[in-house]
């Protein structure tokens, strides 16, 4: 029978399946961070259980870490306890940890690929919804809760039910200045934040194949914002070249065997999907979010929606609520929205190509005097690479701050946050109420759009700044 890529990975990991369809799935790779793991380790300790496969588990502190000078440690006591607890737990249970002073430290979804821990055809989980990022490598990667983290630590398996198959084909070429961030924002706008619920999305089409590995990660990363369990892309030469020689990638004979298997990972041509969406890349424009849900998207040329023109009562209320929170007026132009802050970073857009894209726009320019802007590289290795290329100088000269790696203002668990009513152009993934700080107002954009906004002092069209 013809099967999809998701079907193949699923079938390949079935340890057991009950009559009612409930399955026990083997987990090849488990990423752990400080926020969603303490209660899981505590549970193991209370039941006298061990970590079944410490060598299939990799831990890092990212959510709580300061992005300023780290030599003095963490000043926030609760954050410090959480980071210290992770360190203690990793020591006690024999799990490998990249500590805060390790240059490999960074956002969990950035370090996995960087180290070659993330591999095609694997099942990858982490107590974090943006685990979907790793799907870019043709793995089945999804976020889990803390009870499930404990379950994976103890058994190296997970209780799951099969999701539906959803395919999104994107064909054609992106216009100049339009990026994979705009593609995924457009997709979420079309399907809505619950559009993918109960499904695994496979991204296909010639546009997807033309994207770099990092651009693919941005798309898979925000799949969760469309409500899907996971997003994945069939692995190809770009993925194999990316992984070759990475510290945790297979070596020698193992590499050849792995490559042989990885080459088989694709959806059969006549496989059927439960749902399908087709997009023309040529019609996608630079996007922004205007509201408090990632589905609240418009292009930079458009106006803010007017609740009066919405017939559905629920939608009308939700637009009114969002406009009130965001401090915006119906029908105003997107480019009239003045901003206070710019955040470039996160597991969505904190990789080297993202920083290059923003730096290209900022080169020899100054940011608006009304704007406070910062770059938080996704990992120590991204930071090092950027510094080797002189990108840090471009950011600093333009007026950006250049920080240490971590999740930072994507979710504002550390000191980096918006004040009430402050407005931010952010390359992160969520514009929920209070996400970047109580009362803070977030507009999700691509790195180039964030750079353009920093220069102009308002949301602006990155195409203006393309050479």
């Amino acid at each position: 029978m013809s099967t999809t890529l998701y079907d193949k990975i699923w079938n390949d990991h079935l340890v057991d399946q009950q009559e009612d369809g409930t399955a026990l799935l083997f987990v090849d790779r488990h990423l752990v961070h400080e926020v969603t793991s303490p209660q899981a380790f505590e549970g193991l300790r209370n039941s006298n259980r061990k970590v079944r496969h410490p060598n299939l588990t990799l831990a890092v502190a990212d959510h709580n870490v300061p992005t300023t000078d780290r030599t003095k440690g963490i000043s926030d006591q609760d954050s410090k306890i959480q980071v210290d607890t992770l360190e203690d737990n990793c020591k006690e249970f024999g799990v490998q940890l990249f500590g805060m002073d390790d240059k490999r430290q960074g956002i969990v979804h950035i370090i996995g690929p960087e180290q070659g821990f993330t591999q095609p055809g694997t099942v990858i989980v982490c107590g974090d919804s943006h685990t979907a990022t790793h799907g870019a490598f043709g793995s089945l990667a999804f976020g889990i809760g803390t009870s499930e983290v404990e379950h994976v630590l103890a058994t190296q398996t997970l209780v799951q039910k099969k999701a539906k198959n959803f395919i999104i084909n994107v064909n054609g070429q992106l216009p100049l200045g339009v990026t994979s961030k705009d593609v995924i924002l457009q997709i979420i706008g079309k399907i809505g934040t619950a559009g993918g619920t109960g499904s695994v999305i496979e991204y296909a089409g010639d546009l997807i194949r033309s994207l770099s590995v990092e651009q693919r990660m941005t798309i898979c990363n925000m799949t969760i914002e469309g409500g899907a369990r996971a997003g994945l892309i069939a692995p190809d030469e770009k993925i194999f070249n990316y992984l070759k020689g990475k510290p945790m990638s297979p070596k020698g004979d193992s590499w050849e065997k792995a490559l042989n298997y990885w080459n088989s990972l694709k959806t059969d041509t006549d496989a059927s999907f439960d749902q399908e969406l087709n997009l023309n890349a040529g019609e996608i424009l630079p996007m922004i979010t205007w509201g408090t849900s990632p589905q609240d998207v418009i292009t930079i040329d458009e106006k803010i929606p007017n609740p009066e023109s919405e017939k559905d009562e629920d939608k009308k209320n939700s637009i009114e609520r969002a406009l009130k929170y965001m401090g915006l007026k119906p029908d105003m132009a997107a480019t009239d929205i003045k901003i206070d802050k710019v955040f470039i970073g996160s597991c969505t857009n904190g990789r080297i190509e993202d920083l290059r894209e923003a730096a290209k726009i900022l080169k020899d320019k100054k940011i608006s005097s009304n704007v406070n802007a910062m770059v938080v590289p996704g990992s120590g290795l991204v930071k090092e690479q950027a510094e080797q290329e002189g990108l840090d100088k471009i950011f600093l000269n333009s007026g950006f701050e250049w920080r240490e790696p971590g999740c930072s203002m994507c979710l504002a668990m550390n000191a980096d946050k918006l004040k009430p009513e402050e407005r931010c152009a952010s390359t992160s993934n969520r514009n929920f109420e209070g996400r970047q700080g109580r009362g803070g107002r977030t507009h999700l954009v691509s790195p180039g759009m964030a750079a353009a906004a920093a220069i102009s002092g308002n949301l602006d069209d990155v195409r203006k700044y393309q050479n």
């Binding site: 969603t36 209660q39 060598n55 607890t85 976020g143 209780v159 619950a194 409500g227």
Partner: protein
């Protein structure tokens, strides 16, 4: 895990769609290393003003909804972050049953690990049930019978049989899976042969 069987309560109604887990429990409360004590911070930003005082308009601050065990809410409840702190906060507040027309996948699954029953019903029925919240009248949930009784009416809901059994008996997932240790070991042994690189061998 706490068992779930029957429940009777005046429901609280939160008529907002896409309630995300950041709304249910904001990030400043994720710094805990415990599962308990989050109830007072449930829906923190809607529930308290800048000075930390309770906002009277918010339903969970109003008597008798401040003691509701059942929460009725708009569609796509629990979207966003995977934080299990969301069901922990609901549970700690005393809410053990949520009724909505749809849920985000991870939140839905997290509920069952904590003895919380998330019920899915048509929006029309939800509107009817919300009247009981407005009138401050009790409704009853019976998991075994898979039904809700409200006034002289009753409505059936559907639930996965395995998840139902786990809730009714308060079963520990890990203990259940460890009973399949032999199967896990066999799988691992096969894996070492077929995909040796997985174990870094």
């Amino acid at each position: 895990m706490q068992k779930f069987n029957k429940l009777k309560s005046i429901p609280a109604y939160l008529p907002i769609v896409n309630i995300d887990t950041d709304m249910i429990i904001p990030k400043q409360f994720l710094k805990t290393i415990k599962r308990t004590g989050l109830g007072k911070n449930l829906f923190f930003e809607m529930r308290y003003d800048d000075q930390g005082k309770e906002i009277n308009d918010f339903v969970l601050n109003q008597n008798p909804h401040n003691e509701s065990k059942i929460l009725i809410a708009g569609k796509n409840f629990g979207c966003g972050s995977s934080r299990e702190h969301a069901p922990w906060a609901l549970l700690d507040f005393g809410i053990t049953c949520v009724i909505s027309s749809s849920y985000a996948d991870i939140f839905y699954s997290n509920c069952f690990k904590n003895g919380i029953l998330p019920i899915i019903l048509e929006e029309e029925i939800i509107k009817e049930l919300s009247e009981y919240a407005n009138r401050k009248e009790e409704i009853s949930v019976d998991l075994n019978e898979e039904k809700i009784v409200y006034g002289n009416n009753e409505i059936k809901f559907k639930i996965d049989t395995f998840k139902k059994k786990c809730l009714l008996e308060g079963l520990d997932d890990i203990a259940l899976s460890l009973k399949k240790s032999e199967k896990i070991e066999n799988f691992e042994n096969d894996l070492k042969n077929t995909k040796p690189w997985i174990f870094n061998d």
